[in-house]
């Protein structure tokens, strides 16, 4: 290519480049969409687990002495800002495996700082007919106004009542629980 052609090309490109620079812009963008951004992570976490045996209910003579047991734990994370502001729903799942020939009534209670109930539910744990563990699953979903009541809680109480029957009290109740927390950050 003749040198003069190089020269002309360069000069043209230089002018074009400077013009391009001078006319640079941001086009076809809608930054107001930022207001519509919603992040919706779902967190799965273990909650409490326990095991009940006949030792929790009968004395050394095999006589039923206690029919109701209960334990409580703080759940201080409920007071955290992101739970208070951005939690939109929570699902509790309870799995039980009961080899007692008695059914149980389990009450799950959420309490506020003064010990008052903010949210409560219960579920039935069926008895085993053969002494082999019987599995059962219960799911409690909390949302809307119920969720607001739940958010006032700071502790969780799990109580179980054994419903006496003609069979001797013997066996184990394995109890597992988890929570799925649905967040909406916007």
């Amino acid at each position: 290519m003749p040198i003069m052609d190089f020269y002309i090309i360069f000069r043209t490109l230089s002018i074009c480049s400077l013009m391009l620079l001078a006319t640079s812009c941001v086009k076809d963008q809608d930054f107001d969409q930022a207001d519509e951004i919603v992040l919706t992570p779902e967190i799965e976490t273990d909650l409490v687990y326990l095991q009940l045996t006949q030792d929790n209910f009968v004395n050394s003579s095999g006589e039923a002495e206690v029919s109701f047991v209960s334990q409580t734990t703080n759940l201080n994370f409920i007071k955290d800002g992101f739970v208070q502001n951005d939690l939109s729903r929570i699902d509790f799942t309870f799995d039980t495996a009961n080899s007692f020939r008695q059914p149980f009534n389990t009450i799950v209670t959420f309490l506020n700082e003064t010990g008052q109930v903010t949210y409560e539910f219960s579920f039935f744990v069926p008895a085993s007919e053969t002494g082999e563990p019987v599995s059962n699953t219960y799911v409690e979903s909390i949302m809307g106004d119920d969720l607001q009541r739940f958010k006032n809680a700071v502790s969780l109480q799990v109580s179980s009542s054994i419903i006496l029957s003609e069979f001797p009290i013997m066996g184990t109740l394995d109890f597992q629980s988890k929570a799925r927390l649905y967040f909406e950050f916007n």
Binding site: L50, T72, T73
Partner: protein, 466 residues
């Protein structure tokens, strides 16, 4: 803090800026003093220069290895912005990164001494930030662990470094022989601000445990993470006077050197190479380190019900859980720590061929002939926390008129396969004005651009031979 804004800010960060101290167009542009800052051994033809304070070199560069602003914010009714964010998170990898580089020459001057060596000195301020896309933490934050049971999240994906430094420098350029120029520059760094979180390790997973105590086992393994910062302890109390005083007397100092050479193979072929910012900064003033390390496994709170024969007090389950976590995962938040950081060292090298009609015909010494056109290749690499970034630039440089230099470049880099840049330098008597830009095609719509760089400046360049 609004987590969404934080998250989107992080994503915006990924939209990415990348760059280094000067535009690649200025390398081997030996008619500009700024080329001395990229190779102190460049062949210097002029005898003096001094920059107009604060205006002799203004440089900014951004780029993106994957994402553009348009990918998130385009005006497109067929998809929602949340769809686009999700698509972006899953299209990016931990290798994608964002860096930003800004450089401002405050003072710049140079002169040739009696021995014929060219001395140069100055003061500039530089901002350099790199943030790698924290892929696994981003997925965990965006989706949660519910849809990722069994997945092991690598917390080591968190890697970032940012600094604002003020640099005093003095360099010497020596013509060793007719064919060889060498140069060196010493630098005194004063760190105005530094934040470093690199080399983090750790994994988090949630796995099903059919035979375990509870549904899952949440595991935090091999956690060893830290965030160090110096210079500014609290941005809320930062005042302009603090910024100015810390630019020279911040108390966090370092040293470094630049070295380079330029060798004339023959009348038309040249080879050059340089190492820039081979140095470190030692941080000991206004420092803070936040760290966490350890292992922890969690499967819920195990209730222990009293037996009929052994009644016991209800344990403080939650407090025990918190204490157990603290015993296994050490958390530190210390001030007054000391640490050192390496500067991002850059390597440049070029092979150049000069051709066209001789502009200046030196009959006594034909080796000194100058040609209208130069073409060549420039290899660039910069040391980064995870792996070096590299680029290869082909260029064509032309002296269009006696006062006008123009250079066009085509760069292959991690951001785009069509990075066309240019440099225009006008010398009107002793006054010099230059402007260079990278990826000029991206200027049509900056939102769609993966990378962009701009540098401009004005100064006086004096050549007693002309």
């Amino acid at each position: 803090m609004n987590l969404t804004k934080l998250f989107c800010g992080l994503l915006g960060v990924l939209a990415g800026f990348s760059g280094w101290g000067q535009n690649i167009q200025l390398y081997d542009a030996d008619y500009l003093p700024q080329s001395l800052m990229m190779n102190p051994g460049v062949d210097v033809d002029y005898d003096k220069h001094f920059g107009i304070p604060l205006l002799s070199g203004i440089h900014a560069k951004f780029g993106s290895t994957e994402l553009t602003v348009n990918d998130i914010f385009r005006d497109d009714a067929s998809t929602t912005i949340n769809d686009r964010i999700e698509q972006a998170i899953f299209s990016l990898s931990r290798k994608d990164y964002f860096t930003i580089n800004e450089q401002l020459e405050i003072l710049s001057a140079g002169w040739r001494n009696r021995e014929g060596n060219y001395l140069s000195a100055g003061w500039y301020q530089e901002t350099d930030v790199i943030v790698y896309f924290p892929k696994d933490p981003a997925v965990l934050a965006y989706e949660g662990n519910a849809g990722n049971l069994g997945k092991s999240f690598d917390l080591g994906d968190l890697s970032a470094r940012g600094e604002v430094v003020s640099v005093l420098h003095f360099g010497i350029n020596k013509k060793v022989s007719r064919d060889l120029n060498i140069g060196g520059r010493v630098k005194l760094y004063s760190s105005m601000f530094n934040a470093t979180s690199t080399g983090n390790e750790g994994r988090f997973s949630t796995t099903r445990t059919p035979d375990g105590n509870n549904f899952y086992r949440h595991s935090l393994r091999g956690l060893d993470a830290s965030f160090k910062m110096s210079g500014v302890d609290d941005f809320r109390n930062l005042e302009a006077a603090d910024v100015i005083s810390s630019s020279l007397f911040g108390g966090n100092y370092g040293m470094g050197v630049d070295v380079g050479f330029s060798y004339k193979w023959d009348r038309q072929w040249r080879v050059t190479a340089s190492l820039v910012d081979l140095g470190f900064i030692y941080h000991s003033k206004n420092t803070r380190e936040i760290s966490a390390s350890g292992n922890y496994e969690f499967d819920g709170i195990g209730f222990i019900y009293p037996t009929v024969t052994e009644t016991n007090e209800e344990p403080p389950y939650y407090d025990q859980l918190v204490n157990d976590f603290k015993a296994n995962v050490a958390y530190g938040n210390e001030t007054g720590v000391s640490y050192a950081t390496m500067r991002p060292t850059k390597f440049y090298s070029s092979l150049e061929y000069r051709f066209g009609e001789p502009l200046v015909c030196n009959c006594l010494n034909p080796e000194e002939d100058t040609y209208r056109f130069r073409t060549g290749l420039t290899l660039f690499a910069v040391n980064r926390p995870r792996f070096p970034q590299a680029s290869l630039t082909g260029y064509l440089d032309a002296r269009l008129l006696s006062f006008l230099h123009t250079k066009f470049t085509y760069t292959i880099d991690p951001y785009t396969a069509a990075n066309i840049g240019f440099l225009v330098s006008a010398q009107i008597a002793k006054f010099n004005l230059y402007i260079s830009a990278d990826n000029v095609l991206g200027y049509q719509n900056l939102a769609k651009s993966n990378t962009m760089a701009l540098q401009l400046g004005m100064q006086f360049i004096i050549n007693s031979k002309k």
